[in-house]
Symmetry: C2
């Protein structure tokens, strides 16, 4: 497996584009389209929030009820959530316009929205945007890159990645893009993520690969503890790599899962590190776990704690907050045997041994915590299971961004 250039247009047969349709007040791109020149099988995972945005409901229906998808249309700026039947109608209209422009069936179009909750889509602008997008679709890197830019809201950088791997003489590619960066505490899946691949695989295995991997990737990310109404990850596979169709969990499937995981993990770290207002990517590893579930619960509790996150922002090794966050999680452990370490490019330091702070150098701890990627490792010494979660620090800018998001 190797990293290749590009994102959602890396795989054979996919093209994409991003444009400014006028939904956002500034001049930033706010609509994106992904298109495959042949029909794809599609898998999706969606928010577990009971308040589901209209596009989530649309995509769930399409993915489960129709055999093939061929395009995705996405807008940023307005989330089309809490918009009732009118919102569902706009969703359907969005798919219809795209289908007309692309010459495909309406039920082969998936849609996604992100932005302010509780406002209706400006459907005239959306229509105009789709009409601009369709003729501009490009299958090169630039097409994917423009799409990745167009789905951003408070993100500061576009997030895309692609890998290739071999199945016999066939080169398979998989690429993805996603957006954060607030209301991020995915459950079952995340904000918006779009992954394309030219692998030839059964729909059943495509879904299984995705839904299994999101448990260890998107579901282990938290920016602010708020699980969005719009969380969506879509995975499209068009089969153009030409490999013999994967219909069982063989070596080829494992290779695909490995590449899919690499894409998802990369995108997750990008989301966490670019969390609203963040100055650092904060990774938490829980090792020595009795079970994977225990390790995951502890890791997610630490990475979600406001006090731990503020401590990372302040480069202050206030280790009691990590123990405290472990303690109020639902996972059982023995506080009096826990070891905790901080690690970054600046070094590694044991700050807690058997539940009690060590006499570590504050100066060294601050140096370690001042890097842009910081890891906390908690060893609960109960077994061999482990888990990793990703988040970011809690900063003044997070508050600024969210105190006045709509204006």
């Amino acid at each position: 497996m190797r990293k290749v250039q590009g994102g959602v247009t890396a795989a054979k047969g996919f093209s994409a584009m991003g444009v400014h349709a006028g939904i956002k007040k500034d001049q930033k791109n706010d609509m994106a389209m992904i298109y495959s020149r042949v029909p794809c099988i599609a898998a999706g995972t969606f928010t577990t929030n009971q308040v589901k945005a209209a596009p989530v409901l649309w995509d769930q229906k399409m993915i489960y009820e129709t055999p093939y998808s061929q395009a995705v249309v996405c807008n940023s700026g307005v989330a089309n959530a809490c918009t009732g039947e009118e919102g569902m109608d706009y969703c359907s209209e969005m798919a219809e316009i795209a289908a007309e422009e692309l010459g495909i069936k309406k039920n082969m179009v998936l849609v996604a929205s992100t932005g302010v909750i509780g406002q209706q889509l400006p459907i005239d602008k959306i229509r105009h945007g789709i009409k601009m997008l369709a003729p501009k679709l490009r299958s090169d890197q630039e097409g994917g890159h423009l799409a990745a830019q167009a789905i951003m809201t408070t993100d500061t950088v576009p997030k895309e990645i692609a890998y290739s791997f071999q199945i016999g003489e066939h080169t398979v590619k998989i690429g993805g893009m996603c957006k954060g960066s607030g209301m991020i505490h995915p459950n079952m899946c995340t904000m918006l993520g779009f992954i394309t691949t030219d692998i030839n695989i059964s729909k059943h295995l495509l879904y299984e690969a995705l839904s299994s991997d999101v448990q260890d990737t998107y579901n282990m990310v938290s920016v602010d503890g708020d699980t969005s109404t719009n969380d969506t990850v879509l995975l499209l596979a068009n089969g153009l790599a030409g490999n013999p169709k994967i219909t069982e969990k063989n070596e080829d499937y494992e290779r695909f899962v490995e590449a899919l995981h690499a894409v998802n993990e990369f995108l997750c770290k990008k989301i966490a590190g670019d969390g609203e207002g963040a100055t650092a990517l904060f990774e938490v590893q829980v090792i020595g776990g009795e079970s994977k579930e225990q390790a995951k619960t502890l890791a997610k509790s630490i990475v979600s704690s406001n006090l731990v996150k503020a401590m990372i922002y302040g480069h202050d090794a206030n280790c009691g907050r990590i123990l405290c966050a472990m303690g109020y999680s639902c996972a059982r452990f023995n506080p009096s045997i826990v070891d905790i370490y901080f690690e970054s490019r600046a070094g590694k330091l044991k700050i807690v041994e058997n539940g009690i702070p060590t006499h570590y150098s504050e100066e060294k701890a601050t140096k370690i915590l001042s890097e842009q990627e910081v890891t906390a490792i908690a060893d609960v010494k109960m077994g061999t299971c482990q888990a990793t979660a990703w988040g970011c620090d809690l900063t003044h800018d997070y508050v600024s961004i969210n105190a006045d998001y709509r204006s």
Copy 2:
């Protein structure tokens, strides 16, 4: 029932004091003592965090194993949490020194600590503090007030209240004090709260009254979602009011419960409104609930959401965030019939009707949200149960305070 002056010294026979023992770097008071001239029965509720501070373990043991308590010693600045056996020894020593100074048994002394986790108590300063406190104990308002000041950490105001009510010809008093203001998301009880009363009541009923009321008061407060290692509420009753001993749930018991609830609710609102960095007390009422549990879960999810809290700070009526926070809670409801209102001294406004934003005046909404006490009301229209939760806004100052708490 009527409000009376004072706090923990309002009830007959109680005295208190606060002094500066040198634990905090600044010149602020950092040690407090409460004393009853006759033995009290005591009830307590404590943190459910698995990482329990040494004083929590001490108090749990004393309250369950000894029939009477007579004094409480509390320090702020160091939490005596994550301090292992050495921390337990210091706890015991703290009780021993106080017992000697007061001429009572060591197991009649309850202790409490709040402040930085993971540091050992400066026991020489503690000893000195206790020796200063004992001879200065005062039974007037000032004694209670100085104690309330001495337990503060990042609190900006002391928090105390007292009520009196009649049982026949006997006037009963109950007063309390508490401290917040970060790592506040109590489960089973709260940070530090101390309540004194001169009522004559059985230990069993005293415990039942307290443990039942904390479910609707302290457990409904959230400042930052972090459940502390030190949460403790102690309730001491010395019987000096002279009322016939309450041994069953009769009218007298109900009167006591009402007064206890008034004290607890007042203190909770004080904690929430004085949350770290807060500019506003944020109250959430869920009405029309199918069950009390459902209403509580929804209310607490709203009040704990970082995005909702940042919105309150920005005076921005971004109602989608409230629906979103309800949606990711574990409580089932129908999003498409929910109404949401904002209310404050500046008026009341329906901002969501049947799950969709109304065409409310943004100007009026901003005016309502600009008050120091703001209420959000969510009507889920499924029944007649309701619940109230208290929190505060998420501000730049919260981040400043917690990015650099220890220095």
